[in-house]
Amino acid sequence: MINPYWELIILLCLINIIFTVSLNLILGYNGQFSLGHAGFLAIGCYTSGALTANLGWPLWAGILMSIVMSIIGAVIIGYPCLRLRGDYLAIATLGFAEILRIMANAIRPDLFGGPTGMQNVKSFYKYIPVPEPMNGVGNLLFTILFTLVFFALLVWGIWALASFLQRIINRRLRWDHWRWLICGLVVLAVIVANFACRGALFYRIFGRWHYETGSGGARIIDKAGIFHFFQALTKDSFASPQWAMFALFIVVVAIVTWMIRNYLISVPGRAVVAIREDEIAATNLGLNCTWMKLQNFMFGSALAGLAGAMLAHTIPLFKPMDFNFFKSVDVLLMVVLGGMGSITGSFVGATIITVLLEALRFLGDWRLVMYSLILILFMIFKPGGLLGSAELGQLIRRRAETAIQRLVGDDPSAGSEARDA
């Protein structure tokens, strides 16, 4: 079982993935700059929240309506702006999001909660009927899954950092094995740090599992860790349908990803990318660019609305200030960091930024400085984002091919290429 704080972060990651992908469709694949994407998140959040909590609609209807309302919003804002070329959409969506936020502040506090926001929206937990015997196994499986993902990201992060440093150091001192040295130093530093604070790093991740034997049987006392493997087999875990939440969210993300992939390899998706590449040429092939852009914008906004609806039923409360300009910048950062025009890039970007924002919470308002710092560093060193416009699978395959070639040793240029990459 994963502790509730990190559970929320993982769920937020998954929501942010949908949100990021929705912006990536508009920004990365179609080249249209939407600077107020938080507005569509707000539409989804408030529609589903108000309908289910205050008007007694069923959950599915609330989610459906939030998608419909986002599409309506997209048409209202997109139709006039997408007829033009240029950055009009950015300005209009920026204003649109602010108008929505202020409306949520002012209109019908009985329905939308006013400035204090909505706290009475029922969580997904309340809707999920769960067969209890499944809980323990389900929670354990998801704990293992997320631990693997966590460590994969950690290893990859350290490796990427080391490779990056190697490139910088190698400008002066050429040596092929800097990155191994750096990786080793980082691992060593973690081990030393773990010893220095008497294993606290380890506990922070896996939790402390010494037992308290009392009337209720064996219990775990310390719940500070992220992944509570051992708790997965306790009574707490059997009572919690946490795995069902994860399963639900992952299934939604998978369906969304599948649909986007289908979209991109069919006529409308190709048209949208063609419009990004050259709108005049696309028009001259008989494509109705305005409609294609609008359709794409509607699709992207619908996904943002879906993300909003999921958010409404995940976090305990939301208020208008949650959907201010910085939320739009957040998601922009996720898209740019992951790579514009890469769906798996959006996955990585959304995960990194969401986790980073939590990890940097101790910085307070200085987090905003971190945003700009990250963005500036990326603009300088990796303007295409982490993955560029490639998908993760392609990159891994390419890396594997060069590695195999290097092992076989038939192509000396492949080796040097991999070293420089």
Partner: protein
């Protein structure tokens, strides 16, 4: 048949095209020539209503098209290539052609999102059709390469292939031979002739290479400052004093220029 009747294009006070009329019939190559800045590309843009003509009419097979939006005009059967190549650079060669094939296949957005059998079947047909077209233009071997990675000559072919994929009745080619050497130009023109023979489309060609224009075009329209100065067969155009004047200037102007140059030179020396 593309009929251009008395079209004018005016930007503010500048008359870019002035009461120009000519026709392009199916199976005919019409050359549009004129000195730099004469308004040749503007004529193309006026035909496709990128800049809608200020006055006059453009008709395709008797139907007036100059008030339609550009994409509708293209759907009615006018294909176009650009002076400076406008490929979808980050897309593969195959996808470049596939984009142009959007019209002959119909499925809804929901078919696309859910990848229904109908969508899958049509996508397969699009794939076959696109590969056929690439084969026709000798580009099949580079189908999966990025469009921007192609050599210049092949990019030209790809652009024509893309226009060809929209099944045009009239093909507008804007300086297709620019930047190509003599043998490449010849191959390209053979290809254009082949396309015409296969599809019986009309071609309107802007070109600076006079040898090429005179060799391939049955009918030539010469314009200067947006106005037609001469029209006819290649021999007629070649011997028309007005055309010669437009390209080389009159004897008087030449004399005047020489005098001016001399004056400038002597002025500097003093």
């Amino acid at each position: 048949m593309l009929e251009i009747a008395d079209i004018s294009v005016v930007f503010g006070g500048l008359v870019a095209v002035k009461e120009l009329s000519f026709t392009v019939s199916p199976g005919q190559i019409v050359g549009l020539i004129g000195p730099n800045g004469a308004g040749k590309t503007t004529v193309f843009n006026a035909i496709l209503a990128v800049y809608p003509p200020t006055s006059g009419e453009v008709r395709l097979n008797g139907r007036r098209i100059d008030r339609l939006p550009t994409h509708r005009i293209c759907r009615l059967g006018i294909g176009r290539t650009f002076q400076n190549i406008r490929l979808f650079k980050d897309m593969s060669v195959l996808d470049n052609v596939k984009v142009a094939l959007h019209r002959s296949f119909r499925y809804s957005l929901f078919d696309a999102l859910l990848r229904t059998p109908r969508c899958r079947r049509q996508e397969r047909e699009i794939d076959y059709a696109a590969r056929d077209i690439l084969e026709y233009f000798d580009l099949l071997s580079v189908a999966d390469d990025k469009a921007s990675s192609l050599p210049y000559g092949k990019q030209k072919y790809l652009e024509i292939a893309r226009a060809y994929a929209t099944r045009p009745r009239i093909l507008l080619l804007d300086e297709p031979a620019a930047g190509l050497n003599a043998s490449e130009t010849e191959a390209l023109m053979d290809k254009v002739r082949e396309i015409m023979a296969d599809t019986h489309c009309g071609v309107l060609l802007i070109e600076h290479d006079m040898r090429l224009v005179m060799g391939i075009c049955e009918h030539i329209v010469a314009i200067e400052y947006g106005a037609k100065i001469s029209e006819g067969t290649a021999e007629y155009i070649q011997n028309d004093p007005k055309v010669i004047e437009a390209y080389l200037g009159t004897q008087d102007e030449k004399d005047a220029a020489v005098v001016e140059d001399l004056a400038a030179v002597t002025g500097e020396e003093e």
